[in-house]
Symmetry: C2
Subunit: 349 residues, 2 copies
């Protein structure tokens, strides 16, 4: 299918290319009848502006790209939704590209084909080995819980503190056994949980740190048998984690129990398994999550969770990116949102 060009329109309407251009840009002076006739020809031939050509000239599309992992968690859609709203408030559109196991670097080529003015990268894993992906020819804002190495602006959320607070509360209340679902897979597999305190980035590591520090500060040793890995951090892995805990005597036979889940999807999967097992929540086991996704208000019982103000998070990322797109040359910034613990029926505190 051959694209209709501005030349085709000019020929068909018996006017100059300049006149067609003036009609398209609503500029120049001409008789209203002429303007009307050219518009009709544009409509009839189905002429559309060649944005590839235009963007070569103006270098702007008012489109922001988002590079994020696959849509396999409710949180991803929630984050994308908040970014879309924030971008629209600033007169920009958002397009989304996803990477899966290949990581951010696997889609850098694609980002150059999309014609966005700048990109928001999301990374929940450390970028140490590939921090060069932050050096692109377009402005970048990094979101997630990875270090930006002073290369680009970044937005993070509190991770250590909310999990520390929840775990400390459960310990202070004298809960017999407080388990965790969602720890970094390698640390659990290799029994290197002590190493978690050395890690300064990565969502899993930071949240697990909060849990471990609460025990240390209470003068209690962490029981590695009730610290369960997170896998894909989705409902299936939450269910799997809960079934695993049910097989651990220290947990199953405790006089009272709680599970700190590192995101809401994990908590929803765990809730389901505990109920199926015949346990009442929070009487037999208390469960908490992280993210405050919509489902956490509509599950049974409703889920105690961490709200880290995703709307502010998204708006900070969009605002910083647009400032860069428009030429801001200030030093790189790191913004962190604050948080609130939403207390609901799945816990007794």
């Amino acid at each position: 299918m051959k694209r209709v060009t501005i030349t085709d329109v000019a020929k068909e309407a018996h006017v100059s290319i300049k006149t067609v251009s003036n009609v398209i840009n609503d500029s120049g002076s001409m008789r209203p009848e002429t303007r009307q006739r050219v518009k009709q020809v544009i409509e009839r031939l189905g002429y559309t502006i060649n944005y590839s050509a235009r963007s070569l000239k103006t270098g702007t599309t008012r489109i922001i790209g988002l590079a994020i992992m696959a849509f396999d968690q409710p949180w991803t859609a929630m984050y994308a939704g908040e970014l879309i709203k924030a971008a629209r408030r600033h007169g920009y559109s958002l397009v989304i590209d996803t990477y899966d196991d290949g990581g951010l670097s696997s889609i850098i080529d694609e980002t150059y084909r999309v014609n966005a003015d700048g990109w928001i990268f999301y990374a929940d894993q450390p970028l140490a080995d590939c921090k060069d992906i932050l050096k692109q020819r377009y402005p970048v804002v990094l979101t997630g819980d990875s270090l930006a190495y002073g290369l680009v602006d970044s937005v993070t959320m509190p991770n250590v503190q909310p999990i520390y607070d929840i775990t400390s509360t459960l310990i202070a209340e004298g809960v017999g056994c407080v388990g965790l679902i969602g720890a970094p897979d390698d640390l659990v597999a290799e029994r290197r949980l002590d190493d978690v305190n050395a890690l300064r980035e990565g969502t899993r590591a930071l949240r697990t740190q909060g849990y471990c520090r609460a025990f240390t500060d209470a003068g209690i040793e962490v029981n590695e048998n009730v610290v369960i890995e997170g896998g894909r951090w989705d409902m299936n892995w939450g269910a799997r984690g809960a079934r695993h805990l049910l097989s651990v005597p220290a947990f199953r036979d405790a006089r009272s129990r709680a599970v700190v889940c590192l995101n809401d999807a994990l908590a929803l999967g765990a809730l389901h398994v505990f109920k199926e097992h015949g346990w009442n929540v929070p009487e037999d086991v208390q469960v908490s999550g992280f993210d405050d996704i919509e489902e956490s208000r509509h599950c049974n019982p409703a889920l105690t969770t961490v709200n880290s103000h995703l709307d502010q998070y998204a708006d900070s990322a969009i605002s910083m990116l647009i400032e860069r797109i428009e030429g801001a040359d200030s030093p790189v910034r790191v913004i962190s949102t604050d948080f609130v613990i939403e207390r609901r029926a799945s816990t007794a505190f």
Copy 2:
């Protein structure tokens, strides 16, 4: 920030532009040392291929666009995820643009700025008033439950039959009152439920038809008081619909009850309210959904729902679009997936 051009690279590396081009495309013959040196210069200067210029020449990006409504339902993310997987299997990437209350036509301009080879449009509402949006300069596949008017290929899913089957089963079992959550807002507001049989498109209308026909075929009149509108078809509206039903005597005081929800998000919201009200599911009220989202397997009790093979649905859309992108000129096609009812603990059948 001035873009580094191929000329800059050639100058810096003391070679011709043709040689740089050969290095980029891994073609031509030259000494390995030269190739290596040019690569280093490309790296050092941060040269990246200008895809805007390139796409003017080749007219292809191997990117497919998806235009879909906002990410306010779990189903949207699930559909996007399946399309991403299907596109990748064919060597394409997917970028996503969303429309909200403005409808599909509000983002047509944006689609031209994204540089995709073709677009998948999703529409759950009739396009009658704006079917011209299907006439674009790029190939389009329409998905959702709207008519494509023979203009483009389209993919639909069965809507009437699964809801008919579920409702008929509940009626045949002698359930005292079978309500519905998710009907078209205007039909409920204006008490024009009879009109639903005249509608041949729109997800809400088609599924509501299935419900109404089951009653008609059983020789029973539909009780409009227990047919509740769907609003945004999310969990909040499901909860709202269930609270409404609790206030309707015909439902509340029936000897047995069921609620047919037109998607899973509505059903999850309703489940929560019934449990909060102290009703057991399915003993006091049976609940069914539609879509088989991940949450439907992990809620309490697990949800009986309709699986309409979203993977096939997504793969059909991607395959048809790619055929058009590659020049297929065959008559337009309509593909419909089949379905299976996943029977789980939220119903007694």
